[in-house]
């Protein structure tokens, strides 16, 4: 047990001193802490786009690829400011990029249909199919990959609060057990590893059927058809918007405040220590497209 006053506690979250406490307690070289500007991600605004469509899931909860394709175009154009899917992709990637798609493989996994639609539209934009590969897992060789699309499923996580964006690269560390418990605060440093740093051009969250409790072990009572995609360039901002949706759904389900516990310390650290983006919703421009019922933001 640590006998130090720099242990992060509930009181730090209430006082808003988590960042300062984390900065004092997290060990690691400066380059991992993101002292350099724009350390982990490509420079960009903290715009987050949510596209939703009731028709994306049928009664059996199967995803409709045609609707997904439309929604993907909506988030891509919203994030890049371009007018169509092709030009949006080409603003993020060059034709010579080797693109790694990083879906969530376990429990509430990223829909295969979304991975297929991303792949198909990238090829249509002129990226050779051979330059697009799945890049999730500890055995992936990241050296030849020049660009990443982070594609997690939106879910709460019982150990870390959230198991979505920042956690999605945990296997790149080669030692995922080193990022559990209190050390989940360090998840952001993985984004600053040399083989990862600066490669993430887009964060695209599968929010078709998020899970707001008990993740990652699946409990159907806490999964609901949000029927959305959430996208942005700033991973912390996208995570923060996802968290807001999850928190709002929890409160709605119980009819009373049901705070996400433990609080996702990795998000605060990703912003304050690893400089990966902003988690302050007041500084995030949230754009919404499509179905608005149950939007939760």
């Amino acid at each position: 047990m640590k006998k130090t006053n720099t242990v992060v506690t509930r009181r730090d979250f209430i006082r808003g001193t988590v960042g300062a406490t984390l900065g004092a307690t997290l060990l690691g070289p400066d380059w991992l802490k993101g002292k350099e500007a724009g350390a982990g991600v490509a420079a960009g605004s903290s715009t987050v786009v949510i596209a939703r469509d009731q028709a994306v899931l049928d009664e059996g909860m199967h995803a409709d690829k045609a609707v997904l394709r439309k929604m993907l175009g909506q988030v891509l154009t919203g994030v890049t400011g371009e007018t169509d899917t092709k030009t949006a992709w080409l603003k993020l990637f060059g034709p010579k990029d080797v693109i790694g798609l990083v879906p969530t493989p376990f429990m509430n996994p990223t829909h295969d249909e979304l991975i297929e639609v991303v792949t198909e539209t990238l090829v249509e934009a002129g990226v050779p199919a051979g330059n697009i590969r799945k890049a999730q897992g500890r055995s992936v060789d990241l050296a030849p990959i020049t660009a990443l699309v982070c594609m997690p499923g939106l879910k709460a996580h019982w150990l870390t609060g959230t198991g979505t964006v920042i956690k999605n690269y945990i296997l790149y560390s080669g030692a995922p057990r080193n990022y559990h418990y209190a050390d989940s605060a360090k998840l952001g440093e993985i984004w600053n590893l040399p083989q990862v740093k600066g490669k993430t051009k887009l964060v695209l969250v599968d929010a078709l059927r998020p899970v707001c409790d008990k993740g990652p072990q699946f409990d159907p009572r806490y999964r609901w058809p949000y029927r959305g995609l959430i996208a942005g360039i700033d991973p912390v901002a996208v995570e923060a918007v996802g968290l807001k949706i999850i928190q709002a759904k929890r409160d709605e389900m119980r009819g009373e405040p049901w705070p996400l516990q433990p609080p996702p310390i990795c998000v605060e650290a990703a912003e304050k220590v690893y400089k990966l983006g902003t988690s302050d919703l007041a500084k995030i421009d949230i754009k919404t497209v499509g179905w608005t019922e149950g939007l939760l933001v």
Binding site: M1, V8, M107, P220, R221, Q261
Partner: protein, 327 residues
């Protein structure tokens, strides 16, 4: 009885067992459930048997039989979420006492009391169903039966599988520690919410219920038992108030004192100068402290430590802490 003695049908309606069960133990649990294994390990997990039923419609049914260290461990897992529809599956019936360490005495149903006995503070459920998932506490086995999608007849098949699991198995009482909180749900002025009562050992589980710190500041572990309850008060014309009571049973008084010292040093550092005789005073007067989100009260007695958390005022902290029967 271990889960290995449970006999599941080869075929049930249109579903057929896909093969022999997959066995998962502590060495490979993270391969099976990356990120969730810690939960089961914290409840003295022994092993897991995973069965799969398949039908022609592609609607698989997964049956997970978690063989835990004892009945209290399986109870603890169910207690993390009392939501869902209570279903009666049968079994051998409620037993006097319990064959497992920590099992309490009596055959009473939860939240009801025998004459002269303290009321329990948990729902009576032993199996809960919701949206294609059945969760079962059956002696030392915790079971999950999950359909890949709910549909006609699925619920009935899942319940029949549940009955096959509990058949002829004992139903020990909840662990004794749940009796360390006083009061029926109607005791004024604070009403206890049985569906929010949880039993656990690990600070990881505590943090999923009520976050205190990512560090293990209370010194919880496999040898410490803990119960967390929620009280509510609904004052006339005022907003509903809530407060938590955490009761921990350590292996001995020395470890309880260490737990309290660790808590005070990390969470109430302004009091840490009192470490030693004042803070660790066994059986001493309770302490009450105002912090950012309300009042905290704590009291140690022998191997027990009780903490009232998130109380709206000092009086509330006193009332909530008084519900800890740890003398």
């Amino acid at each position: 009885m271990p889960s290995d003695t449970i006999r599941l049908p080869e075929k049930i309606d249109g579903w057929r067992l896909a093969g022999p069960p997959r066995r998962v133990d502590a060495a490979n649990i993270f391969d099976y459930m990356n990120g969730a294994g810690e939960l089961y390990l914290s409840y003295h997990f022994d092993h897991l048997l995973v069965y799969e039923y398949k039908n022609d419609g592609g609607n698989d049914i997964l049956v997970e039989l978690y063989d835990m260290g004892g009945s209290r461990d399986a109870f603890g897992l169910l207690s993390l979420d009392w939501g869902g529809e209570t279903v009666e599956l049968g079994g051998r019936g409620r037993e006097e006492g319990g064959s497992n360490p920590g099992a309490g005495s009596g055959t009473r149903s939860a939240t009801q009391s025998d004459a002269g006995a303290a009321p329990l503070i948990v729902p009576s459920s032993r199996a809960l169903y919701g949206e294609g998932l059945l969760r079962i506490w059956s002696d030392g086995v915790y079971a999950r039966i999950l359909a890949s999608r709910e549909g006609p007849g699925v619920r009935e098949v899942i319940l029949r599988l549940g009955k096959a699991i509990v058949a002829e198995r004992a139903d020990p009482a909840p662990p004794e520690l749940v009796r360390a909180v006083v009061g029926a749900a109607t005791d004024p002025p604070w009403t206890l919410r049985p569906e929010r009562t949880s039993y656990f050992y690990s600070h990881l589980v505590l943090n999923s219920l009520y976050y205190l710190s990512h560090e293990n500041i209370l010194g919880l572990g496999p040898d410490t038992e803990a119960v967390m309850v929620t009280f509510e008060k609904d004052p006339e014309g005022g907003a509903k108030r809530s407060a938590r009571l955490l009761v921990i049973k350590y292996p001995d008084g020395a470890q309880a004192a260490n737990g309290l010292t660790g808590f005070v040093e990390a969470y109430l550092p302004d009091l840490s100068g009192e470490s030693g005789p004042e803070v660790r005073r066994e059986g001493g007067s309770p302490r009450f402290v105002e912090i950012e989100d309300g009042w905290i009260g704590y009291r140690m007695s022998g191997a027990y430590l009780a903490l009232a958390l998130g109380c709206p005022d000092e009086e509330a902290a006193r009332q909530v802490l008084a519900r800890a029967a740890i003398e």
